[in-house]
C-alpha cells in the first residue's frame, strides 16, 4: 500500500514535470558588470509578459569571453542566447553554423541597415544578431576641477593641450588618466577615439578597406603623433597603470580628464562624487567637421543548436522592441540604443554623449570591419602599436609602417 502510493507519487511528479516545466534560456555575455541590471530590471520586465520563459544571464570575464565562447560552442555546451561581438568574431560563428539566421525575425524591422551592418554577412543577405547598443567615444572630465582651475571645455587640439598644460602646471590633478599596461585603452580610447577626426570618419575607413588609403598616409599617422604627446600628461608610472587603476584615479578625483567610452557612464556615476562633463575628440582647427566613433558594439543572437529555439526567438523579438531599448538605454546609460525608435534618456552625461550624434559625423572603429580578419590581426597590433607610441618606445611613423606592412601581408586590396 505504502509502496504503491509512493510509486504513484513519483510517477505523477515525473509526468507533471514536463507539463509544468518552464523553458529556461541561458544568455552568454561578456558584460559581467551588468549582472544586477539583467537580474533586477530586464529579465523581470520580460517575465511580466512571458512568465513561461525563464532567463538566466550567465556572463564571463570580458577578456576571456571570446575564447570561452568558442570552446563552449565547439563542445556544444554554450547557452541558448549568445551576446554578439561586432563584425568578424560573430560572422565567423555564423559561418561555422553556430549562430542561427535571424533575417526573418519580425523585430529586425526596427533597425536601420547601419545598425545591422555589424552583424550581417558581407553582402548583407543574412542578419544573425539583434543589435542592442552602440558606444560613443570621447573624453569625460572632472567639471569641478575644470571650474577650479578656470579651464574652458576644449574644442580644438590647441585648446586641448593648453588645458592639459594648465592642469599639469597647477599640479593638483593628474592631467589625464590612462595607462598602457592593459594596452587596449591606448588603441580603443586613444587611437580610435581621436582618429576619426583625422581620417574623416567613414570616408577614411572605407578608403582603407578599399585599398585607396594606407595606414602610412598622413591622416592615419596623425592620431599616433597626437598620442605620442599624451605621455607627458599621464600619471607617474603610467606604464604599469591598468584599466581599473585609471578608472579609480579618475573617480577618486585625482585626475582631471579621462579618455573614455560611453560605457563608463554608469560606473562613474556610481563612483564619482564630483560633477562630470564630456567633450568629443578635439578637432584640428575651429569650425572643422567633427567625427565621432559611434561604435556598434553589442548584439544578441541565437545558438543554432539551442533546443529552446522557439522560446529564444520570442525573447529576441522582445529585445528588438522599443520597450527593451528604453529599458536598456536607461538601465545602462552609455549604451545607446540602435533601435530606430528614438529613446528618451534621463542621464545628463549620456545625453551629452548622444547629442554629438547631431553635430558630428559618426563612424565605427577603423580596425573592426574586415581588416582584422587575417594574421597578423590589425586590431591586436593596433593595441600594441598605440601603447608603444604612448610609452615612446616606437615612433608614430614606425608604428604606422609596421601596421601597414602587417595588413598588406594578407589583405589583397592593400598589397
Amino acid at each position: 500500500m505504502n509502496k504503491t502510493y509512493l510509486t504513484a507519487l513519483l510517477t505523477s511528479t515525473l509526468l507533471a514535470g514536463p507539463a509544468l516545466a518552464q523553458t529556461t534560456l541561458t544568455i552568454e555575455s561578456w558584460r559581467n558588470d551588468d549582472l544586477t541590471i539583467w537580474q533586477d530590471t530586464i529579465i523581470p520586465a520580460f517575465n511580466a509578459q512571458h512568465p513561461e520563459i525563464s532567463v538566466v544571464f550567465a556572463p564571463s570575464a570580458p577578456a576571456e569571453y571570446n575564447a570561452a565562447l568558442n570552446s563552449k560552442l565547439a563542445a556544444g555546451s554554450a547557452g541558448d542566447l549568445i551576446t554578439c561581438r561586432p563584425f568578424d568574431a560573430s560572422l565567423e560563428l555564423f559561418n561555422q553554423g553556430h549562430l542561427a539566421d535571424l533575417t526573418d525575425l519580425a523585430g529586425m524591422a526596427n533597425f536601420s541597415d547601419v545598425a545591422k551592418s555589424a552583424w550581417q554577412t558581407d553582402d548583407g543577405a543574412a542578419t544573425f544578431c539583434v543589435p542592442m547598443a552602440s558606444v560613443i567615444h570621447g573624453f569625460i572630465y572632472n567639471a569641478d576641477a575644470f571650474a577650479e582651475l578656470g579651464i574652458e571645455v576644449p574644442a580644438t587640439e590647441a585648446e586641448f593641450f593648453a588645458a592639459l598644460d594648465k592642469i599639469k602646471a597647477d599640479g593638483t590633478y593628474i592631467p589625464m588618466a590612462m595607462g598602457t599596461n592593459d594596452q587596449w585603452e591606448a588603441a580603443t580610447m586613444g587611437y580610435n577615439n581621436i582618429g576619426p577626426n583625422y581620417w574623416k570618419g567613414e570616408e577614411g575607413r572605407r578608403a582603407l578597406i578599399a585599398g585607396e588609403q594606407k595606414l602610412t598616409d598622413p591622416q592615419w599617422v596623425a592620431p599616433f603623433e597626437q598620442l605620442a604627446k599624451w605621455k607627458d600628461y599621464l600619471g607617474d608610472g603610467f606604464e604599469a597603470q591598468t584599466y581599473p587603476d585609471s578608472q579609480n584615479l579618475f573617480t577618486l578625483g585625482r585626475a582631471a580628464i579621462y579618455p573614455a567610452g560611453s560605457w563608463e557612464i554608469s560606473g562613474f556615476n556610481a563612483q564619482a562624487d564630483f560633477k562630470m562633463g564630456a567633450f568629443p575628440p578635439p578637432v584640428a582647427a575651429e569650425g572643422d567637421t567633427c567625427y565621432i566613433s559611434d561604435h556598434t558594439d553589442i548584439a544578441i543572437g541565437l545558438n543554432a543548436k539551442s533546443p529552446n529555439a522557439e522560446a529564444a526567438r520570442v525573447f529576441l523579438d522582445w529585445v528588438a522592441s522599443p520597450e527593451f531599448a528604453t529599458l536598456y538605454a536607461n538601465a545602462l546609460p552609455g549604451f545607446f540604443s540602435l533601435n530606430s525608435t528614438p529613446v528618451e534618456m534621463q542621464d545628463p552625461l549620456a545625453q551629452e554623449f548622444v547629442s554629438w550624434r547631431g553635430k558630428c559625423e559618426p563612424t565605427i572603429r577603423s580596425t573592426y570591419q574586415i581588416l582584422s580578419r587575417g594574421t597578423p590581426n590589425l586590431e591586436n597590433e593596433t593595441w600594441n602599436a598605440s601603447a608603444n607610441v604612448i610609452r615612446g618606445s616606437e615612433t608614430p611613423a614606425d608604428a604606422a609602417k609596421r601596421l601597414q606592412d602587417g595588413l598588406a601581408s594578407w589583405y589583397e586590396p592593400q598589397k
Partner: protein
C-alpha cells in the same frame, strides 16, 4: 621438468589504473594535439598538410619572430629560476637543517606557504604591491630613502620579464627548499660523524660532504624547474594579459600558444597553428628532459648507505 613460471597477473592489475588514467587524460590528448598540428584549413575544408604548419611557424618571418621571441623570453625566465630560485632554495634548506636553528618549523612553513597559493592571487597581490599608484613598494623604498630606485617595473620592457620571473621565484622557492631539506635529512649521521672525525665541519662539510650527496636531488629540481617554466602561462596571463605586454616583452611559449589556439579579442582562434606551437613546446621539453636523463642523470654518482 621445471614448473612453468606462473604469469604474474598482479603486476598488470596493479599498473592498470595508473596506465589507463594517464593514457586517457594525458597521452591521448597529447597525440590528438600532435595530430591536429598536421592539419589546417584549406580551400575545401580541413585537410592534411603534413609539416606545413611547422614550416609556417619557423619559416614565416612574423610567426618565427613571435616564436623566437617567446622562446628567448622563456629561456630567460628559466635562467632566472636556475640562478636565483634553486641556489636560494638550497641555501635555505642548508640553513634549516642546521640543528642549532630555532623555530625551524615556522620558517619552513612560512617559506613554503606561497607555493600553495593560486597563481591568480600571487599575480594580483604582486601587481598591487608594485603598483606605482596604490602599491606599497614606492612607499617602502621611500622609507629607506631609495625612492629614486622605484620604477613601474611591470610596465617597462626592460624589467617586466625579470620582475615576473622573480615573483615566480618568490612563489616557488619552497619547492627546492623542501626537496633539498629532505635530501639533507636523509644523509646518515655516520657519514657526517666520520667527516667530523676527519676535521671537516661547518661550511666545508656542506661543500665537501653534503653537496655531493644531494646532487641527484638538485638534478631532479632542475628538470622540474625546466618543465614547469617551459609550461608556464598563468602568472604572465594574470599579470600582463594575453598580449603579454609591454610590447610582447613578457610573451612566453604558454601565452603565445594561448593567443594562437584560443584567439584573443578580434583575433580568432587557430587550433591548427596553436597545435603546432604546442607540438614545438612538447619537442623542446622532451629534448630538455632527454638531455638531462641521458646526459646528466646517468653520470651522477650515487652513494648507497
Amino acid at each position: 621438468m621445471a614448473a612453468r613460471k606462473p604469469v604474474r597477473w598482479h603486476i598488470a592489475v596493479f599498473l592498470a589504473p595508473a596506465v589507463l588514467v594517464y593514457t586517457a587524460i594525458m597521452i591521448i590528448p597529447l597525440i590528438g594535439t600532435l595530430n591536429l598540428s598536421l592539419f589546417n584549413k584549406g580551400p575545401d575544408g580541413v585537410q592534411f598538410v603534413g609539416l606545413a604548419n611547422f614550416a609556417t611557424l619557423f619559416g614565416d618571418p612574423r610567426w618565427s619572430a613571435s616564436f623566437w621571441n617567446a622562446l628567448g623570453n622563456n629561456a630567460w625566465f628559466f635562467l632566472i629560476h636556475m640562478l636565483v630560485q634553486n641556489p636560494i632554495g638550497i641555501a635555505l634548506a642548508a640553513i634549516l637543517s642546521t640543528p642549532k636553528l630555532r623555530m625551524a618549523a615556522f620558517y619552513r612553513t612560512a617559506i613554503f606557504i606561497p607555493t600553495i597559493l593560486s597563481f591568480v592571487i600571487v599575480g594580483f597581490v604582486w601587481k598591487l604591491i608594485l603598483s606605482p599608484i596604490w602599491g606599497i613598494a614606492p612607499g617602502l623604498l621611500d622609507l629607506v630613502g631609495l625612492k629614486s630606485l622605484f620604477a613601474p617595473w611591470l610596465g617597462r620592457e626592460e624589467y617586466a620579464l625579470t620582475t615576473l620571473a622573480l615573483i615566480s621565484v618568490w612563489q616557488f622557492v619552497g619547492i627546492p627548499m623542501m626537496l633539498i631539506y629532505a635530501a639533507l635529512l636523509s644523509i646518515p649521521d655516520e657519514v657526517l660523524e666520520a667527516a667530523e672525525m676527519d676535521g671537516i665541519t661547518g661550511a666545508s662539510q656542506f661543500w665537501k660532504i653534503k653537496l655531493p650527496l644531494i646532487l641527484p636531488s638538485i638534478g631532479i629540481i632542475s628538470i622540474l624547474t625546466f618543465v614547469g617554466n617551459f609550461n608556464a602561462f598563468d602568472l604572465i596571463y594574470v599579470a600582463q594579459g594575453a598580449l603579454a605586454g609591454p610590447d610582447f616583452s613578457t610573451d612566453i611559449l604558454g601565452t603565445f600558444l594561448y593567443r594562437t589556439f584560443f584567439g584573443f579579442q578580434l583575433q580568432l582562434g587557430d587550433p591548427y597553428m596553436g597545435s603546432a606551437i604546442a607540438g614545438a613546446m612538447f619537442g623542446i621539453i622532451l629534448l630538455g628532459v632527454c638531455i638531462y636523463l641521458f646526459g646528466i642523470q646517468t653520470r651522477l654518482r650515487r652513494y648507497q648507505f
